[in-house]
Symmetry: C2
Subunit: 172 residues, 2 copies
């Protein structure tokens, strides 16, 4: 689609890329690496993953929790493993696509609703740009809440780049 | 905020920038020139302006048009002048910000609702990226239809970069 740019940048840019377990988010990262990131610039790429908030289910009569602390700990561990796995995959993509190591790649994991986490991180880190896939959330949740990208595009102050995964391509 | 990139690109990219009479759209173009366009690449920048559709008002009993052909012609002339003026301003910005003339800058004017015009042009020209300001439309129309950028982000297939004008800066 486009090309690897090897650019000379004079100022530092913080580019946040929201990643999740979807192929679309990896495609968005890949497109960003090819089209936005300057190989020999002082860009900092920050990969953000929003870990789903810890579920707190109460029993119907409200007297107690459905899950024991053991189960909660197991779920927490699983959730952390998923986060590690996704960020590792994203960092691998960065290593493969960035010809040199001039671009700093950092990772952040925050717990919470992806919409809130991403918007808060953009603000907190004073990002110069937010990059994300078009979707996020499953179909049902999206029908009620709208897509994560739509929410972020409305609410963050910095430029937002929304990238869809082409249906025809098998993508990466 | 960020920096002028002087990049070497190997493939041709078509980058569409939607411009209108808002300061926000000129800010979006300016940001794109600074952060996305590669000065010595083979990028083609296509500036698109959607001219509002010709108003056709009929009288209440439906027997005739409220505006004479003279008035229509005057309005049409005015609308074309506005389009020329906006595109001239946009091209001037391109000349000022692009250090070299490697980047081709083209302009297109199409008549119709901005949402339809932009989506159709992205499709027709097989754009690699769409760049636009966050708003478009006045407040009232936006309340009913949503912003132009939101519509486009949902409907075009290529990556969409939505750029807001910072409130604090008076800048472009």
């Amino acid at each position: 689609m486009a090309d690897v740019a090897t650019a000379t940048a004079t100022k530092e840019r913080k580019i946040l890329v929201a990643v999740d377990d979807s192929e679309e988010s990896m495609h968005a990262l890949s497109w960003c690496l090819e089209n936005v990131i300057s190989n020999n610039s002082r860009d900092t790429l920050i990969l953000i993953y929003a870990k789903p908030p810890r579920p707190v289910y109460t029993t119907l009569d409200g007297t107690g929790y459905l899950f024991s602390s053991d189960i909660m700990a197991t779920m927490e561990k699983y959730s952390s493993d998923v986060a590690d796995c996704i960020l590792e995959k994203a960092k691998k993509l960065c290593r493969e696509q960035l010809a040199h190591n001039y671009v700093k790649v950092e990772t952040r994991v925050e717990c919470g609703d992806a919409r809130d986490v991403i918007c808060e991180m953009v603000e907190k880190l004073s990002a110069d740009m937010l990059v994300m896939g078009s979707h996020g959330y499953g179909l049902i949740k999206r029908a009620f809440l709208g897509s994560v990208s739509n929410h972020c595009a409305r609410n963050v102050k910095c430029p937002v780049l929304i990238i869809k995964k082409p249906k025809s391509s098998g993508g990466r």
